[in-house]
Symmetry: C2
């Protein structure tokens, strides 16, 4: 099992600091979660039935015409390599890197020939692959690919039966980058363009386990059959409908998160740390990533350490002013101790 | 996608009866659900972390030494054929039949050679298979296999690297049948014995999506890796811990459900219907199953019609006295209309 952020139990065990005393910045999840509505009385009791309301709300919010709810995008990330293998055999897969590590891991596990390719080198790699996977914007580096480029790649891949998988899990604050609306194979759509969206990050509802896949052709029915009945819980459906339809909350949250992401980037800059990322996280290739991670942990701040791929540090957003101050103090302590600004100058 | 019970949306569309007016007896789920505890404030917000408390509670309740939580036994039913295929190639699989149809469906889909074999013919089929799947007690027929027989089969299969998969999803009211405690490969355990348990049925928490797999050797780590991170939601974990530790509720519920199952069987007998099943459902090979299903639906009672496999009707337990009366009246109407008792005499 790959390591991921949000593993606060590990932090508690390793540093002997009580769970309640941690400031957890190890994920890129909105700390101000959408307030879950009161559930229907039978939400826990009944088998979940598929709900057109949920799909309609998702299509409206994400701008796609055909979507399938899944129990978190992770479920789709695991299923797509299996489906591809079953229906088309082993593929040559290019995964944009460094990125969310589960993509390369799952394509490799399913028996495909996987190459991890830097974002800048993707155009040159297009010709020699059947499937390309791009996180846009990327987690954790924040790398971006313009939609028109993605659509051209999707067309080139589709022409030879290939797929372009675009993981827009962190795309809610950059809607101008989304290609979800081109994922259907109807008028103007691109066959073989598969877009992944996540409810967990922007809505701060990672515990709900809800995401969506936008795609055309027979892919969504095949994916639904693969994932089986009742894969998305009833409570997840109810909460998802409320969150996806609350346009006022979405608009206000987008503004807030963009401002907070800027604030985090600026705070890091004052410590001489040039970071990149998206609204909900900032990342940099910290030369002493292990030391930084340990320094912060000793002060009860749990950050995400990457020791492979995007080697470095990722910070999520503090939840409130006290948390911002705590982070700022810890960062200043780090700078002073290591004379960080001078060292990188 | 196979059809399953609990599909009340289909009933609403097909019969034009409002959802609230239906008496849904189409599943075998305890109608008196365990009361879900109040969730922690961050249950919907945080990524779910794996929780030793949950596994400990499950091991204590089910009597197994090693268990893995899954998002409903359906998740394991889908994953096991894939894991078997990946690690051992295509197998000769015997699925006890008629039974819960997803077993045969998923083993077939994964490319194994599947034979559906009647419960009585399982002993003769043992020699010619690598994997055997038995629901015990069976859904919907109520067929049972004694634990010592299952353990002998597990040993015979294990001797040649085979698996015995025992689906005890409806086993909570017949703990004397369970082989979960033999599933570990340590002292006295049986390698290759895999036991599935469900929280949804007995605890009436089908919306939670929680089940467990008991097994030894490397199977549980392999299954965990296959199912990926965060497959069981945080709320499911919290509710599961509470339900699995509440021994007083479990004991009272076992008594109640056994009595209600007997009551349902007796009620059907008064209509001349000889039914079998387990505490939470009764089934019979109704000769006019389509007619019976339609008759009940016209009165707003949604029952489970099987048109293949266990061709016939399954009824779940009414939730309260009013529901019992409603069912009784509908059954009597059916008997009178069809002179059922005379016809089958």
């Amino acid at each position: 099992m790959l390591e991921h952020g949000g593993n606060l139990n590990d932090a508690v065990i390793r540093y002997g600091i009580a769970r309640a005393d941690w400031l957890d910045l190890s994920t890129g999840i909105n700390p101000a979660a959408y307030p879950a509505p009161v559930l229907k009385a039978d939400a826990w009791h009944r088998l979940p039935e598929s709900d057109a309301t949920l799909v309609d709300a998702a299509c409206a919010y994400y701008g796609a015409s055909h979507m399938l709810p899944v129990a978190g995008t992770q479920a789709a990330i695991q299923a797509l390599p299996q489906l591809r293998r079953r229906d088309h055999g082993a593929a040559r897969v290019v995964v944009a890197a460094p990125a969310y590590a589960e993509h390369a891991h799952r394509w490799t596990q399913a028996g495909h020939a996987v190459r991890e390719v830097a974002y800048d080198d993707l155009p040159a790699a297009l010709e020699s692959c059947d499937v390309m996977v791009v996180c846009n914007p990327n987690n954790p580096t924040g790398a971006r690919v313009a939609p028109d480029i993605l659509l051209a790649w999707a067309e080139a891949l589709a022409a030879r039966g290939g797929w372009l998988v675009v993981d827009e899990a962190f795309g809610d604050t950059t809607p101008q980058l989304s290609v979800a609306s081109y994922s259907h194979t109807g008028d103007g759509g691109r066959p073989g363009l598969i877009v992944l969206r996540s409810v967990g990050k922007f809505f701060g509802l990672a515990g709900v386990r809800l995401g969506f896949v936008a795609a055309g052709g027979t892919l969504l029915p095949a994916l639904q059959e693969w994932l089986g009945p009742w894969s998305v819980s009833g409570p997840a459906q109810q909460i998802g409908v409320a969150a996806l339809k609350d346009v006022a909350w979405q608009e206000a949250t987008r503004v807030t998160l963009l401002a907070q992401g800027k604030r985090l980037q600026d705070l890091l800059a004052t410590c001489g740390i040039p970071a990149s990322g998206s609204a909900m996280y900032q990342w940099w290739p910290e030369p002493d990533a292990v030391g930084f991670h340990d320094w912060m942990a000793q002060q009860g701040i749990w950050v995400r350490l990457f020791t492979r791929g995007a080697v470095g540090i990722r910070l999520g957003l503090p939840a409130d002013e006290a948390a911002w101050v705590r982070l700022q103090n810890a960062l200043q302590g780090w700078c002073e101790q290591r004379s960080y600004a001078e060292r990188v100058a």
